[in-house]
Symmetry: C2
Subunit: 177 residues, 2 copies
């Protein structure tokens, strides 16, 4: 018994650890399944994502940019939109996102707006750049002052700007997000 107890404890610990590792990998493999299916069926680029809440997949997606003519239809955004539709909420603040690649700045910002607190990813933005995607370029552009970016920004400072924000501030039945 004195020998058995530590042994059993260690077995439980290892099993629990393996189970946890397998679980994360399983979710990631679902994201990869979505990505492989997307590539093979000409849905879009090689990216997949799933959103998980309390162990359940509530949103799944692959990149759909080219097949839907939607430059915002990245895997993470497709999965977040599906999860929000399923839950009828715009806040996923207890969910976890699994993405086959480090999210681009658009998707990363979407993850912030959705309130998702944890992300698992596999490939990196540099891996994506190496096969021709702009993720890393856009990250670098966002770091630059507005006047040094490749997109030309011009400010038109109309009085409607202040009026609109004042109307929002004073609106009593507004839904804050």
């Amino acid at each position: 018994m004195l020998i058995g107890i530590p042994f059993l404890w260690k077995l439980c610990f290892i099993n629990d650890d393996i189970a946890m590792t397998l679980q994360h990998e399983d979710y990631m493999k679902l994201a990869f399944d979505a990505a492989f299916n997307g590539v093979r069926n000409n849905v879009g680029g090689p990216f997949g994502a799933v959103v998980v809440l309390k162990g359940e997949v509530i949103g799944k997606g692959c990149n759909m940019v080219s097949s839907t003519n939607d430059p915002t239809a990245h895997a993470e955004i497709v999965a977040i939109r599906e999860a929000c539709r399923n839950l009828q909420t715009f806040n996923l603040n207890n969910a976890v996102l699994y993405a086959t690649c480090e999210p681009c700045p658009m998707c990363l910002s979407a993850i912030y707006w959705a309130g998702i607190p944890a992300v698992y990813y596999c490939s990196t933005r540099v891996d994506a750049e190496n096969i021709g995607f702009s993720d890393n370029f856009i990250y670098n552009e966002l770091d630059k002052p507005i006047e040094e970016r490749s997109i030309r920004f011009s400010r038109l400072n109309l009085e409607e700007g202040g009026e609109l924000f004042n109307e929002w501030t004073n609106k009593e039945d507004k839904i804050v997000y």
Copy 2:
């Protein structure tokens, strides 16, 4: 005649200049119309945008986050998606975007992905922060190393990552975006 020609030239120049100024303001006012309508009809937050191609409005939108339960339905993204649907393309590389507020990092990245080369905006990210929106917070988060962000990132480096990107690289009929 010697007096008349410079006068006429100056008149044309002024008119052209005024016409150009009015044109930009007119498009921006369409973006504000969309934003005010959105706020007053409880569609979403106080933001509007239009996409213009060769003088024609091809996409228009207001923030629709709260009414559609879509955290990605910011005005710029709504307008870009509509423009792409109308033109049946994922590339808006000759278009101009007018936004009532400086785009958040999600929308800015979407503008890069859509290939839009020029943006006119009115209010700033700091103005947005002052009425309670997270734009500036997210800009600051994106600047941070991945391990210092408020979202927890964990890497699961599975072999599927390399396999997926290799399959994409070797795919002969892929649509690059």
